[in-house]
């Protein structure tokens, strides 16, 4: 995974998305310690204040917790991670359905097509 940004959207929002993705996919595993804000900012090549802000947002959602002396950790609440994963999945599904609607497919037709694709692959 790499850090890539669309410069037309706030970087902060994109950092929140990317960090959440890394947590739900286990790239940063449950309960694991995250690199420091400075390290992550350097890796992503973004302003440390922006990274700090993204972390604060994830803390607010309970996905991250800060321990005063030892740093920031990914939550070990698996249910919370699963919920976040579903929330992210729903965004993709909504995007897919709205694209399909632009092409003139109803939700049922779109899902049928998607299911066909699944069958084809097997």
């Amino acid at each position: 995974m790499s850090w890539q940004f669309d410069s037309e959207r706030p970087i902060y929002t994109q950092l929140v998305e990317e960090l959440a993705l890394r947590m739900v996919t286990g790239c940063y595993g449950p309960g694991s310690r995250l690199p420091s804000v400075r390290e992550l900012a350097a890796e992503a090549r973004v302003n440390p204040n922006t990274m700090q802000r993204a972390m604060a947002e994830l803390e607010g959602r309970g996905l991250l917790r800060t321990e005063r002396t030892s740093g920031r950790f990914v939550t070990d609440d698996l249910e919370l991670l699963e919920n976040e994963k579903r929330r992210l999945a729903r965004v993709h599904v909504d995007n897919f359905l709205s694209r399909m609607a632009e092409l003139g497919f109803t939700t049922e037709q779109a899902l049928e097509l998607a299911a066909d694709k699944g069958v084809d692959n097997q």
């Binding site: 410069s7 706030p10 350097a42 992503a44 090549r45």
Partner: protein, 236 residues
């Protein structure tokens, strides 16, 4: 001791003219510590004049500028690390000699950091400056500035002359050097390259600030990148 100011740089109605040419006109500006600020504007918009005023190389025609609560002078110079847009080093010196000279001269200079940056950038430290390319010299100058532990860094076009790979390294150096107590002011027209590292920008046009704000807020309001916004504000 001066009264404590929450701003590293504060300008009030700052004006500077050169003969009949007004380079800066009634500028009001406050920069708090802990930011990487972009100073963006076309040629002749007053970027270099602002930097020179901040480090005390020139004096205001009217209004005032304060660095950490004080007028620019010997005291403030120890807090400001300035990278001018021109070469100021003695061409006959070797890179390593210049680093040693800086280490002797500036109490806040981190000699080890400087040599490590020089090595990373693959600059031959035994080479005389006169034998180096323009871009390599720019790298050396930037290393000297970034190796100081100053409060205010003024970088005038720090990446203009260097190749994209070195540009990336330099930008990483600026992030790596980030400290909540210091602020970096970067002037450039290469907005695309610096966009992700800025958290605040000032758009300067004909000596005045025409737009200022948090980078993400500006992106959010306009739905545009800074680069696109710049082209819009400064359309010829």
């Amino acid at each position: 001791m001066s009264e404590h100011s929450p701003y590293l740089l504060e300008a009030r109605s700052l004006t500077r003219s050169f003969g009949r040419n007004v380079a800066l006109s009634g500028l009001d500006l406050r920069l708090a510590p802990g930011h990487i600020v972009g100073l963006l504007g076309p040629n002749g918009s007053g970027k270099t004049t602002l930097m020179k005023l901040a480090c005390g190389l020139i004096k205001p025609t009217a209004g005032e500028i304060l660095i950490d609560g004080e007028k620019p002078g010997p005291e403030s110079r120890s807090k400001v690390a300035y990278l001018p847009d021109t070469s100021y080093l003695n061409d006959n010196m070797r890179v390593s000699d210049i680093v040693e000279m800086y280490a002797d001269f500036y109490a806040d200079f981190d000699r080890e950091a400087a040599f490590s940056l020089i090595r990373d950038l693959k600059v031959d430290e035994k080479a005389r400056l006169s034998t180096l390319s323009k871009g390599t010299r720019e790298k050396v100058q930037l290393v000297l500035v970034m190796s100081r532990r100053a409060k205010l860094y003024l970088l005038d076009e720090p990446i203009g002359g260097v190749d994209p790979a070195a540009r990336e390294y330099i930008i990483n150096t600026i992030i790596g050097n980030y400290h909540p107590e210091s602020t970096v002011l970067i002037s450039t027209h290469l907005i695309y390259d610096v966009e992700p590292v800025l958290d605040h920008v000032l758009f300067l046009k004909e000596g005045r600030i025409v737009m200022e704000g948090g980078v993400d807020e500006l992106r959010e309001q306009s739905g545009k990148s800074l680069d696109a916004l710049f082209r819009e504000v400064f359309r010829c």
